[in-house]
Amino acid sequence: MINVTIDGQKLQVPEGTTILNAAKMAHIKIPTLCYSEELSIYGGCRICVVEVENERLLQPSCAVAVKEGMVVKTHTPKVREVRKTIFELMIASHDLGCKLNCLTCSRGDNCDLQRLAQELGIREIRLNALDKNMSNDYSSYSIVREPNKCISCHRCVRRCEEIQGIGIFTKANRGPAAVITTFKNKGMGNLECVNCGQCIHACPTGALHEVYHYENVWDALHDPTKHVVVQTAPAVRVALAEAFGEKPGRIFTEQMVAALKRLGFDKVFDTDFSADLTIMEEGTELLGRIQNGGTLPMLTSCSPGWIKFIEHFYPEFLDNISSCKSPQQMLGALVKSYYAEKNNIPKEDIVVVSIMPCTAKKYEARRPEMTGDVDYALTTRELAMMIKEVGIDVLNLEGEDYDKLMGSSSGAAVIFGATGGVMEAALRTVYEILTGEELPGIDFTPVRGIEGIKEAEVKVGDLTLKAAVAHGLSNVRRLMNMIRDGKEYHFIEMMACPGGCIGGGGQPIPTDMEVVKKRMEAIYESDLAHGYRKSHENPEVQQLYDEYLGKPGSHKAHKLLHTHYTPRGL
């Protein structure tokens, strides 16, 4: 243990502790900007500098480990003045010109720079705003980059590289020309970017945000010739309330449904319904592959970030991916066929909107092989904006139920939102189909939790089913390499985002591991509250097969609910 004195408080901390963390232990919050607990130390912003006795220069507390006997002062006049000057310098090159940018910024209500200004007690900026004159990057279907707002903190660079293992962003040039950019400044839409949106969570400013589609949705809602149907993904219901000031972990399903009805959607369906359907199709596919010597391991297909990832980085494994469309696309396809036919609505008049925790879903909805299933994919944040715009007091709203036909779901469907959930849901059903018995214990905990790669074996009759789960693309990459090197599995669940969909790039800000854990608890709580815990018990799914599709894997099911993939390479 190391003895250290911080602002007069003496304490002992483990060797290797940074000044920043030691201060935290002494209940002192040193302001930070480029620092992120989940990323490597960058040491760029220098906002966290402190005075260390006998050191000539100020020390960045995020990067310096405490030494025996160190005496640290966190808010001397020198420190306060330097922090304020750094802030002034930074803010003056942050596109603040005369465009009233804070008012129109995607991060107007949760800007790290505004927070920092308050923490530092900034009351004046003595410098004129610099116009960096860069153009916005609109090349991606999912994400917009506004480089003039970028302050070069490298949080996006590090998140993309370290958590997602991709590395879309880089620093280019030096001196005043130094910028964060994409490879050869090609734009995010022209690279191996998988649209996961984790960079948005990393960004302290509005330099990165989703491509907004809510205006199109407003247009549709106000177009009397359009029949607008909305669906909501499992992970949205446990996160939406955060956008209205609630603590992470509140289950908000019924209020969300009520708000959607008030917004004017003609039908509110549940993507959980099509998650159950996915289990029926994917489970059938898995059994077929196992029994008929098909390509194994089978890889899940619900995460569009993961799908683009494998198309770029492991195209030789495309046959391993389940041919099932994602739940979003399945529901869209069914609204425009099953629902349209049942209600005699021409499908041209139907607009399908999905509310997703995800930015990659916007890209997925635009995939040529599935065009038309879903018209607009909104993020959880965009839905919150719409609700706020209308002024619905959503927190105190009387809850409502999803609409019939595609509104019922099992507990197995809601856990799709968390890493391991698809696996667990599939096991509950596959086990029962093969053995005629319920999966022992039904709660299949080995695949739960935030461990990056999880493995499990389940004895199903004569077969020992080997399963694995990975989330966060750097873990996904590790697991893919294990498979490439010969490790054998039957079934693997892959999710692009850390924590699964609950940690998606479209979720309320902030989204970090602490928040994700709370959402995860809510997801499993919601599972328990469901009347049915297994996908094949969903009565509306049964009805769909009886009335329309025949049986899982039927010709019609294939036509509507399955897809194919494109080798993209690098």
């Binding site: 130390i41 960058y42 040491g43 760029g44 912003c45 220098r46 906002i47 500098v49 220069l57 100020l58 960045p60 990067a63 480990a65 020198k78 003045e81 330097v82 000057t85 750094i86 310098l89 930074m90 003056a92 090159s93 003595r126 410098l127 610099l130 302050i151 070069s152 620093k171 040039n173 030096r174 001196g175 005043p176 020309a177 130094a178």
Partner: protein
Amino acid sequence: MGETLFLKRKVSEDYSHYDFPILKKVIKMRREDVIAEIKASGLKGRGGAGFPTGLKWELALKEPGDEKYIICNADEGEPGTFKDRFLLENTPLQVMEGIIIAGYAIGANKGYIYIRGEYAKAINIFQDAINHAKEEKLIGDSILDSDFSFDLQLVKGGGAYVCGDETSLINSIEGNRGISRITPPYPIQNGLYGKPSVVNNVETLTAAAEILAQGGKTYANLGTDKSKGTKLVCLSGDVKEPGVYEVEFGAMTLREIIDEFGKGTTGELKFVIPGGVSTAILTDDQLDIPYTYEDIANVGSGLGSGAVVVVSEGHDLLELLQNVSRFFMDETCGTCFPCREGNRRVYHLLKEAVNKGGFTSDDMKLIKDIGKTIYLAARCGLGQTSMCFIGSVLEKYTDELLARR
């Protein structure tokens, strides 16, 4: 008083016949004894930071690991500095001998010399010298029939001033962006490719070789208590005879260097930059001090890399400030906010001042605040010293600058 020729004594020799006599002697010595000799000499790093060379080598030798690197920093970028170029062009084999000796002393079998890309002549000469040494088997396996093998590779710099900083230089050799690393760990523990590495300046390594030839004591007998030996001074600016002069520490004052070696100034002397544009200026009344690390530090500046730039009356102060500011603005690597944004801002403030014909006291205060912030909070030496020149000019010529309006 003339030059004290310690380093420069072999300048006239034709290097093609040079056969590494010092290395031949050193390679028979114990590594610890080689280092002891350097420690006895009191040699400090001549790149600017002044870290004791013997101590650096000792720490590197003690560091565990089979793979270590010696890197010669020849990325001489400090404006006004050209001593390393002089050595590379005139005594390349002595420089190389110094590198190999250092490699031997710390137990490194691979060395790099990172030469500033603009030094085309020096690069050609040094590459020839490496080829020559390889032919003569002075570089390679079991050199000079010892059990010591050594390989040396020349790397051309890509044109970034920041790569003169040792951790940035290491990043650059690795093919990464030239930006400083967070220290600790220092290169001695975790340097090139994560291995223990020593980065030494050209002049340091050349001096080390000569010290082993002439003895650590001989060197230590030159100079003062705190500044041992000699230093190559790069005299430039408004002097009649600019050039590289070898000066024994403490034997001459700054004014004597200017008057005797430079043969005086070309106009009425206004101020002197004693250690390159990363150091604070000294005015006429501060020049009668011995040329030593300690005496220059005492008057608030630094000896830096040894670049003595003389500035006489008749220059536009604002223009000079803008020129230096432009340099630092362009050369900041862009990693840390104080250096990137600060130097950009100072440049813009100076430019505005030129446009409106002078400074306001608000401008002055702002530049000083920014300067203080960069000094106290920047990530590496580039930033920390980037405002030394500008800050000192503002301080010493406040009235003159304010009066312009």
